[in-house]
């Protein structure tokens, strides 16, 4: 993996912030885009733009083909059986909402949905909405170092939840869940299994067929792709049975004033004109990731993680949250005596972009007994120099706030 060459592909990394070269360490929130993806979107608008599905002319055939190709590429990326199992949404959040609405139709009073305390709000709030129907939402407890409490999990699964929705990896702590085991445990309890893979697929290989998971959700913008495109994978036989979520154009086959009939998969779940350019750009992002290799990317991140963690441990007054092993390239931390917002502002002054706050995971924050953290997250274009600048920045924070 040639980082120098990879960096060249990302135009934004040449940008200066406050006179310093951008060091982008907020990859868990969203990633930057390589020129290949930017140009794919361009190229679509300059050469193939037309509405999909409907047209009987050449241009529309081109855009329809390109948009379908994007579904096929996605199916291959996660090793789905076929593109009928790939639904494009706006983002992970919409994918999970689709599930909560559509699966929710069939749930009954007192049915249980099980999720966990390390989830992003997107995998909590949609399920909470089902409470109005008398459905119960339970949460698997979390250990002090940010892992799922196995005993509690077993106990909660013993109550036979209808749905078990959990994250592949924590966006706050980097905790990587053993998804194979969790899916099996869920299946054994007869629950539908859903993985929030928004922090997983860009770092770890996934094979949904082998995994036998029912649904997974993730976002293009977190894996080098355009904004406004998310994915919902679902097993064909499940998707066939489910009622649609949003309705309107493109997702129906026949409409009369009395009744409507749904289109075939995956279009049944894609109502209205989709984000065609976004889908087409996403395909190129997937190709880019595949060319570099997810495993290579993961290895690279792990190197940076280990290096930066070790360096940080040398500094007094730093608390790092999360597990020691099985962790993404994410460092969630606090500098004693300094508010996370201030940590991030000082770093920003040197062009280093990290995030601070509760990271859309308030229940986890509460569990950890903190208000927020500062968070640096690495991706394929980050270098050892980036990590060094980050460490230097933290030292500067301590100097400015005189907390030595």
């Amino acid at each position: 993996m040639n980082i120098k060459k990879i960096k060249e592909d990302f135009p934004i990394l040449k940008k200066k912030i406050n006179g310093f070269e951008l060091v982008y360490l907020d990859n868990s929130a969203t990633t930057q885009k390589p020129i290949q993806v930017i140009e794919a979107v361009n190229c679509y608008y300059e050469n193939n733009n037309a509405n999909v599905h409907r047209g009987g002319y050449e241009l529309s055939r081109e855009s329809t083909d390109l948009y379908e190709e994007a579904h096929k590429e996605t199916a291959e990326f996660i090793k789905a059986k076929k593109m009928e199992e790939i639904i494009f949404t706006k983002n992970t959040t919409e994918s999970i909402n689709l599930l909560s609405f559509s699966l929710g139709e069939k749930l009954k009073k007192n049915d249980v949905v099980l999720t966990t305390k390390i989830e992003h709000h997107s995998n909590i709030v949609p399920w909470q909405q089902l409470k109005r129907k008398g459905i119960k939402v339970e949460f698997v407890e979390v250990t002090k170092d940010g892992k799922l409490n196995e005993k509690d999990l077993e106990e909660k699964l013993s109550f036979k939840p209808k749905i078990f929705a959990f994250t592949g990896a924590s966006n706050v702590l980097g905790t990587v869940n053993d998804i194979k085991k969790l899916v099996k445990q869920g299946k054994d309890a007869d629950a539908l299994t859903i993985i929030d893979a928004a922090q997983f697929v860009q770092h770890k290989k996934i094979n949904v067929k082998k995994l036998n998971v029912d649904f997974i959700a993730f976002s293009s913008h977190k894996m080098l792709g355009p904004t406004g495109i998310g994915v919902l994978y679902g097993k064909e036989e499940l998707l066939e049975e489910m009622p649609p979520f949003m309705t309107g154009g493109d997702m129906i086959s026949k409409v009369s004033c009395e009744k409507s009939y749904w289109n075939s998969l995956p279009w049944k779940f894609e109502a209205g004109t989709p984000n065609i350019a976004g889908g087409i750009g996403f395909r190129i992002a997937l190709k880019y990731l595949e060319r570099i290799g997810i495993e290579e990317i993961d290895k690279h991140e792990q190197k940076l993680l280990n290096y930066a963690t070790k360096e940080m441990q040398e500094i007094d007054g730093i608390e790092i949250f999360g597990p020691e092993k099985n962790k993404l390239g994410i460092i969630s931390f606090n500098v004693k005596g300094v508010h996370p917002h201030d940590v991030s502002s000082v770093l920003d002054r040197k062009g280093i972009a990290i995030r601070s706050g509760n990271h859309c995971a308030q229940p986890l924050m509460e569990e950890l007994g903190i208000k927020g953290t500062a968070r640096a997250s690495f991706y394929l274009y980050n270098t050892k120099e980036d990590a060094d600048k980050f460490i230097e920045g933290i030292k500067e924070v301590k100097k400015i706030f005189k907390v030595d």
Partner: protein
């Protein structure tokens, strides 16, 4: 010198003036931005439409803490009307200038204070306790 936080901000963050809670108050206002987690609680004693005493507490970043603290200094002895007139710009200047990305941190305390005084007036200037979400 660093060019990001004025010495005043750093000082007020470490040793905030008027930190604490009044026992004898007409207004108690708790406000914050739940999504960023910052929280400020003002207790204010008003007499003859003037701020006779004021304290704040809570938790927040350097900028919101310093800003709230400075605000308590600034409004002491002022009339309700005068408080309303303090502009964000003025606040910014008093603090020695803050960076653009953090304007919301700076204005948190001021927004809570303004809302609290509005509620106080609405209540017919009776003793009130209010919770404000920004």
């Amino acid at each position: 010198m660093n060019e990001i936080y004025s010495e005043l901000i750093l000082d007020l963050y470490k040793n905030p003036l008027n930190y604490g809670e009044l026992k004898n108050f007409n207004i108690k206002a708790e406000g914050g931005n739940p999504s960023c987690g910052d929280l400020v609680i003002f207790t204010i004693k008003i007499e003859n439409n003037k701020v006779k005493d004021i304290k704040f507490k809570g938790h927040g970043c350097a900028i919101s803490t310093a800003s709230s603290s400075l605000l308590t200094e600034k409004v002491l002895g002022k009339t309700i009307k005068e408080i309303k007139k303090i502009s964000d710009k003025e606040l910014n200047e008093m603090l020695g200038g803050i960076i653009q990305t953090r304007i919301k941190c700076m204005t948190l305390g001021k927004r809570v204070l303004d809302k609290a005084i509005e509620e106080y007036k609405k209540s017919g200037k009776n003793k009130i306790k209010v919770t404000i979400r920004i």
